[in-house]
């Protein structure tokens, strides 16, 4: 079982908490449950109720989606990342993917109650700032992709009007293919 002081040391090494005092990180570990996972242990099951988030302190996690009997690997979670954050702010949601330990991992469990009641801890402020920056990056990236598709589609349409439609549509993969690629599909 990882001790609180070990976890504090690991938290101090995370970029997320680089400006947070050891005192506030110690308080954080006292307020959050520390959870340990063995390789292949499931942390979030797909479609399970989403009512909390976690911070990965050490180890590595896999994010997968199950469609029928097929499992698709979407990505990995590395130390310093927060995951399942929609459960902190929106009620009634479910997990959109499964999260599973890739190797021995330690997580901090973050509840909506902790976020609601703890405003006087710099670690929570850092966490909130990190989430704002992460959301902004995701929104901008998705928006840029959408705008790119939109502009290419407009250019395609103009060319189509000049009787080049079939050839150009095949070359650019078509609107449907581009939209699917936003989700990592083909």
């Amino acid at each position: 079982m990882a001790s609180s002081s070990t976890v504090v040391k690991q938290l101090q090494n995370l970029h997320l908490f680089r400006n947070v005092s050891a005192k506030d990180l110690t308080k954080l570990t006292q307020m959050c449950q520390i959870l340990e996972f063995r390789p292949r242990q499931i942390i979030f099951a797909q479609n399970a109720p989403a009512d909390h988030a976690m911070i990965l302190v050490s180890g590595k996690l896999d994010v997968c989606i199950l469609t029928g009997h097929t499992e698709r690997h979407l990505g990995s979670i590395l130390p310093g990342e927060i995951f399942g954050e929609s459960g902190l702010f929106h009620s009634g949601g479910t997990r959109s993917a499964m999260v599973r330990a890739n190797k021995d991992s330690i997580c901090l469990l973050v509840t909506p109650e902790l976020m609601r009641e703890t405003w006087n801890n710099q670690a929570i402020v850092a966490l909130e700032q990190f989430l704002i920056a992460t959301m902004a990056r995701r929104i901008r990236n998705t928006n840029l992709e959408i705008q790119k598709i939109w502009k290419v589609e407009s250019a395609d349409q103009q060319k189509n009007e000049q009787s080049l439609q079939m050839e150009e549509s095949e070359q650019s993969g078509g609107l449907l293919g581009k939209l699917k690629s936003l989700f990592g599909g083909k």
């Binding site: 902004a136 990056r137 589609e153 407009s154 349409q157």
Partner: protein, 222 residues
């Protein structure tokens, strides 16, 4: 600004953006750090491409959101009723105004300067925390709403391609939908919730949130 007025707006904002992790009195304190501002119908609130130096919270009235398409034609993306947050994305990531906003009616609102915004983002206080939670929740809503709409557009297009009886593809309509999705990502989406009857509720309760979410989910389908 009257504290009671701010409290009512704060409650409505928390319900509209489905924030369950903060209290209205703390958000009201954050809003109180802004300046009250009035716009008359037709007034320009901000112009597409201009630098983002402030954001607005509307308390009364509606905002018309316009964006230029690839041909330079200005199209209406949405008419957003109060209470709503306008122009916060540019302050988060330093980008220019992504759309033009005009007062669709007389508007009473709050202007939050870039300096106040940055201070609220860093403040270790109940109001700072409330403001950050509102922001996070708003952005999560933008992403999930845009994802749903992209999913809907993909479904429609798959249906068009696989239909036994050919369905005429409307490229112009698809382009408009893409433009609106980009707008949703920037926060330009009218919220459909009717929150007027809920003003007397002291705190955001999970059941309220669930009802609001259900109503919103139903309204989201194209």
């Amino acid at each position: 600004m009257q504290t009671d007025d701010l409290r009512i707006v704060a409650r409505k904002l928390l319900r509209t953006y489905q924030v369950r992790s903060t209290r209205s009195r703390n958000l009201a304190l954050a809003l109180g750090k802004g300046q009250e501002k009035l716009w008359s119908q037709g007034d320009l609130m901000c112009g597409e491409g201009q630098p983002s130096d402030s954001m607005f919270v509307t308390m009364e009235g509606s905002v018309q959101v316009l964006k230029r398409d690839t041909t330079g034609t200005e199209k209406e993306l949405a008419v957003i009723p109060a209470p709503s947050m306008i122009g916060q994305m540019g302050l988060v990531d330093g980008s220019a105004r992504s759309a033009t906003c005009r007062a669709a009616s007389n508007i009473k609102g709050i202007l939050i300067s870039k300096q106040t915004f940055n201070s609220l983002l860093q403040e270790q206080s109940p109001e700072g925390s409330a403001f950050r939670h509102l922001l996070i929740s708003t952005m999560m809503g933008q992403l999930s709403s845009a994802n749903e709409k992209i999913g809907g557009l993909v479904d429609d297009m798959v249906e068009e391609q696989t239909a036994e009886v050919p369905i005429e593809t409307n490229q112009e309509a698809n382009k408009d939908k893409l433009m609106k999705i980009a707008g949703v990502l920037d926060g330009w989406e009218a919220k459909e919730e009717d929150v007027d009857g809920l003003e007397s509720v002291e705190f955001v309760m999970d059941e309220d949130m669930k009802r609001t979410k259900d109503a919103r989910d139903r309204a989201r389908r194209w």
